[in-house]
Amino acid sequence: MLEIKDLHASIEDKKILNGINLKVNAGEVHAIMGPNGSGKSTLASVIAGKEEFEIKKGSLALDGENLEDLDPEERAHKGIFLSFQYPVEIPGVSVTNFMKTAINASRKARGLEDMPANQMLKLIREKSEMLEIDRKFLSRSLNEGFSGGEKKRNEIFQMAMLEPKLAILDETDSGLDIDALRIVANGVNKLRGKDNAIIVITHYQRLLEYIVPDFVHVLHDGKIVKSGSKELALELEEKGYDWIKQEAIV
């Protein structure tokens, strides 16, 4: 589904990604781990199409279609979703209104009419119940004054509403309490299917107990330096990153 080849990206001439190769097939869950500043969020942003990052070399494609020429919203219309590490606040715009706008924008891009109100309400009810989100929450301004955990849960609510083909979750687990982690992971697992793929960026093994990955990759200095099965995450938890950094140098 997603194919990244020798991807180099920089911002203001600062090189951040230095030759990423990654292939994600439909039905798979990939975990990306790695030390702070190694480029995980950058990779997510580049896939989503953030323009500040300049692609210097390499390619990225979704279902064989080159993504480079597509605007972020066009990528979203094709089913790419990013759960942000730091979701932004939009004062005065309710969660509901934001979702309605987002869903209808994607529908329009696909040549569909706006979603009828009753269907929208039904969808909102269903997804908010699944994620145990209080209704009052949905009328509040997007992310404004939300706690860290609330913001993350709200990201997953949006994911559930949009039902993306490829979901990238950037540290969605950080900030979530133990119960919330379970609820959110459960929500993510509901999206899993043979036609979808998920990339989970995390620092902790804990999330991967709930969302069991097919592959684990370690990013270091803008490069995937090690890939393995879910056991790799356990090993990292135990030993940290030093041994991998060592290996990378050798």
Partner: protein
């Protein structure tokens, strides 16, 4: 309720006559320039009583001694007041003109605003076929108002039909020599609206000039007088979301509101005069004086959405004379390209326990300048007066400016005055976040701007709010590269 074809036709004929559509046009435009003779001629043309002529002349003599103010944060070439023609008869629809002759950009905007073809024609002074719907609406409307004793008519008619009311109230809130533009308006105004709500009557519908068929075009020097008698209520809508392109560069209106004891007036404006093109050429100068007087326990709310004009100079104000009276000002001012707006309010607290609220949202884009200027004045006898002001500015890009000039003068120690101000910028991160959810940049900006303006949009009557939202969107189109 059904009208026969014949009645309809008749109704229409009288309307056309009433509003001067087919009256003799013997001298439809006066020579340029302003003098006592011209003022007299305007008054005569309008068939006005002697006292009205005198009133105008007094205003004119005052105006002659005044200087155009320069304190506002706006820069423009001063109009040549001797190069303006101060009277021109209402223009009849040009039978040879069709919508194809109208600027396609403007038509595109109409389309986006969802304005019907007939309305488009009316706005562009293209002959309109008979629109049965709007005729019957207007007729029912008139009937309902008459039953309640509400007077709602052009001010020139009110001068003829209700001279006692006009004489008693006109100029009491905005004196003829209040300021340069108000004085000019007082001397030469030719159209505008008059509204009187009798004691204890709640006006059952929003009063809008829109219903005054064939009076779509607003004049250069409009004069509005709204009187809410004791215990009455009225909601008044001014303007129209449709962009008005006018050959008149200078517009200087005066609006006076009078809320007698226990009355309430809600006055909502959507102003969308031509702002000039992208290079800053053309565009209307809008210098307005709007003021309301509150007697005991009364309330006046001003709500405005200002998106048009090249230069705006406008401070809807409340004089809180009566004890326990309330003044409110809710404003959204959008400037784009080379527009300049200096707008705000004055809340003059004279009575005890008077309360005022000011919520101002300024949105600047392009190379525009957007200033809020507000005065909160607490008189020495205004025990326990309270004011809350909030001024938020939203900037788009790096070339525009937002300025806040709050003035506070408190002469009574019991006053409680709170002022909050914020300035924010639409962030790349906010836009990227929206983009990532499938919302394109233009729509994202609209969403963010609407969110920013929400507190004020919520104060507008429902259907006006929807239109105003669309208008905000359109005004900011193309404001990000």
């Amino acid at each position: 309720m059904a009208y026969t074809e014949e009645e309809l036709k008749k109704e229409l004929e009288t309307k056309e006559y009433e509003y001067g559509f087919y009256t003799d046009i013997e001298s439809d435009t006066f020579p340029k320039g302003l003098s006592e003779d011209i003022v007299r001629a305007i008054s005569k043309k309008k068939n006005e009583p002697e006292w009205m002529t005198e009133w105008r002349l007094e205003a004119f003599r005052g105006w002659e001694k005044m200087e155009e103010p320069e304190w506002a944060n706006v820069h423009y070439e001063k109009p040549d007041f001797q190069a303006i023609s101060y009277y021109s008869a209402p223009k009849a629809a040009d039978p040879n003109k069709s919508l194809e002759d109208v600027d396609p950009d403007l038509l595109e905007m109409y389309r986006k605003l969802g304005i019907s073809v007939d309305e488009q024609k009316k706005l562009q002074n293209v002959a309109v076929d008979i629109v049965v719907d709007s005729v019957s609406v207007a007729t029912t409307f008139k009937k309902t108002l008459a039953e309640k004793g509400i007077i709602f008519m052009p001010i020139s008619e009110a001068i003829q039909e209700h001279p006692e009311l006009v004489k008693k109230y006109m100029g009491t809130v905005v004196p003829t020599t209040d300021n340069f533009y108000a004085a000019l308006n007082s001397a030469v105004f030719t159209d505008g609206s008059f509204c009187y709500i009798p004691k204890g009557v709640k006006c059952p519908m929003e009063l809008s000039t829109y219903f005054r068929i064939n009076e779509g075009g607003t004049g250069q020097f409009e004069r509005t007088l709204v009187i809410a008698d004791e215990g009455s209520y009225v909601s008044y809508l001014e303007g129209c979301t449709a962009p008005s392109r006018d050959e008149n560069q200078l517009h200087a209106a005066v609006v006076e509101l009078i809320a007698l004891d226990d009355a309430e007036i809600k006055y909502s404006t959507v102003q969308n005069w031509f702002p000039g093109n992208k290079e800053g050429k053309g565009g209307v100068y809008n210098f307005v004086t709007k003021r309301g007087l509150c007697e005991t326990n009364s309330k006046i709310s001003w709500t405005q959405v200002e998106t048009g004009s090249a230069v705006t100079w406008k401070y809807p104000s409340c004089i809180l004379k009566g004890n326990n009276s309330v003044g409110e000002f809710y404003s959204i001012a959008v400037t784009n390209n080379f527009q300049q707006a200096d707008t705000g309010t004055k809340m003059i607290h004279l009575g005890k326990n008077t309360k005022s609220t000011i919520i101002s949202k300024g949105i600047s884009a392009g190379k525009s300048q957007n200033s809020y200027r507000g005065l909160v004045q607490i008189g020495s006898r205004a025990e326990n007066a309270r004011n809350f002001s909030q001024c938020d500015s939203l900037l788009m890009g790096n070339e525009c400016g937002a300025h806040t000039f709050p003035y506070i003068e408190a002469k009574n120690r019991t006053a409680q005055i709170e002022h909050e101000a914020t300035t924010s910028k639409i962030g790349e991160d906010q836009i990227f976040y929206c983009n990532q959810r499938g919302i394109d940049t233009e729509k994202a900006i609209a969403l963010i701007v609407n969110g920013f303006s929400k507190e004020v949009l919520n104060k507008l009557p429902m259907e006006f709010a929807v239109e105003a939202q669309k208008l905000l969107e359109i005004s900011l189109e193309g404001s990000v590269g």
